[in-house]
Symmetry: C2
Subunit: 335 residues, 2 copies
């Protein structure tokens, strides 16, 4: 009787161990068979930035985190603390050494990260780029703002603010691709769609508050009829606003800036800046993780169609922009 | 004793009923709490096309189906059988009347579907566009080829085939937006990047085999030095190939066509067409369903950030293109 009990206990024990193994220890189930997109909490995806403390990354990271929560995977945030190419390369190399489930990276400039990114891809690590691309890289996708379209949207808003007539100027960073594209989108749209508007000058604000303030003073002197300024980045926007305040021309000119830093939002409340272009930062982070998950789990066109050289994922995602004005500025302070 | 047994049975029965309800009958669990993207098989998403039997839609539908399988939801395929605006509007209205979980639609032209699409959005049905957009529509996203970039890629391939020198021509449909963009991308790239190449003419192939054949004969007569032709769609590509065969100039000129219809692939094997541009049709369908699922389940930027007017999803997705030549043509027959 005792022997029988022992046998039963062993049998039941083995069965429970079997059930435990099947349910909790096996490799993740094949989603093509079971349905449902869900990873393992041990899968770690890493977001890599530069100037890691910047406001803008907070929203991208929130999107990355939210996607991770939905897919039941883990994330880490790493970044160069400074605006320093070599520091970002070092950070990326450290991340690669840990062989993560995927890397979402924004490149400090279009050229210098490419080799290191390709090292990650060659090591079999899924990589996507967000916000700023790397020319010639093997990353599977770029998830970013279409800056040409964003500039065009700024032009339409400027036309609305000026009743489609008058002189306008641009303050930008002429050496950065993103800013060249924003400027081109603005200029092309003004010249194509608004016959009674005229672009009078494009000035270098150097991505700097003081430089942009100086540039604005020069523009105001040379073009007394000027009615609007489009600034392609946030520091310059603050500089333009300050120039208008100092020259006591608040509300006299229309200003459209870029991004939603607190300084910009404050100037919108104050009436120094009329509108700013908000990027889809949360979507950049969210879809970066979602895409990396698809690569890690082989849920891609490449896998399904089995064609050598075919793009596994969409190559470019435009996360779009929203126009922020006095009417909706309050919603952007919280983010 | 019997009474006690009855009570126990009732208690155990109620408990089991409770467990059953909790596990199997409740509304889908909130993925923000439970993790995992998984829908209900009763959720039905609909793909709506025109010329529903066209080869190209087979791959988009496969992507749509594959995404549905992964997310454990259901799909339907509906389309106008003909190239007929009113028929597509009627089909879309019938689909809206059934209040599906989401609609992915490709618009037969950029204007005539917009009102009906907006009717769907206003009725609370998630809508995304794929392949061809609808101007001014309230659809949340367009998932398509960036046709300008596709034209630029064709230009780089043409330059490679011609060792970056010689006269080239384009055969296109000048009245369709997609084709204007492909042409512009090709022309701009040739003139900017390849100084020793020259565009000599752009002709109307009318999306028709015979018309493109005629156009090619005219081009060949007028430009005896011509070395390459880019055709922006598949019927025209066949026409160009036929013109070269009839004029016995096979292999003499380089031809780049668009899409991967069987006729085009056959001409690549035969050497009449040197390359064709394959679109990411599977990705168009896959990400259409994935995006609709996110809208249906409120897993979007709009939901998370709670900002009025903010784009819930990325506004544009470029699914990218792949170049098909004799080297990889065999992989495209199966798809």
């Amino acid at each position: 009787m005792k022997k029988l009990l022992l046998i039963y206990t062993l049998l039941i024990g083995s069965f429970m161990l079997y059930v435990y193994n099947v349910h909790f220890k096996e490799t993740p189930p094949n989603p093509w068979e079971t349905g449902g997109l869900q990873g393992e909490i041990t899968e770690t995806y890493v977001m890599v930035t530069f100037q890691a403390g910047m406001d803008f990354w907070k929203n991208t990271l929130k999107g990355f985190e939210d996607a991770a929560q939905l897919l039941n995977v883990s994330i880490e945030y790493r970044g160069a603390t400074q605006y320093d190419v070599n520091e970002q390369i070092t950070v990326l190399e450290q991340v690669i050494a840990k062989n993560p489930a995927g890397i979402a990276i924004t490149a400090i400039n279009p050229t210098d990260l490419t080799d290191t990114i390709n090292k990650a891809v060659d090591a079999g690590i899924p990589v996507v780029l967000f916000d700023a691309g790397a020319e010639g890289s093997k990353a599977s996708a770029l998830i970013s703002t279409d800056n040409y379209k964003a500039g065009a949207k700024a032009a339409h808003k400027m036309a609305e603010l000026l009743q489609e007539k008058g002189e306008v100027a641009v303050v930008t960073n002429p050496n950065q691709l993103n800013h060249q594209e924003r400027t081109a989108g603005f200029i092309d749209t003004i010249s194509t769609d608004y016959q009674s508007m005229k672009l009078v000058t494009v000035e270098d604000g150097m991505g700097d508050r003081l430089a942009a303030r100086e540039a604005t003073n020069v523009i105001l002197n040379n073009h007394p009829e000027l009615e609007g300024i489009f600034v392609t980045e946030a520091n310059g926007g603050i500089g333009v606003g300050e120039a208008l305040r100092l020259s006591q021309r608040i509300g006299d000119l229309k200003v459209i800036s870029f991004d939603t830093d607190k300084g910009t939002l404050d100037m919108i409340e104050e009436g120094l800046i009329d509108a700013t272009i908000a990027q889809g930062a949360w979507n950049m982070g969210y879809w970066s993780l979602n895409f990396l998950f698809h690569l890690q789990h082989d849920l891609t066109q490449q896998q399904v169609n089995d064609i050598p050289g075919i793009a596994p994922l969409p190559t470019f995602v435009d996360t779009g922009v929203t126009i922020v004005t006095k009417e909706n500025v309050q919603y952007y302070y919280a983010h």
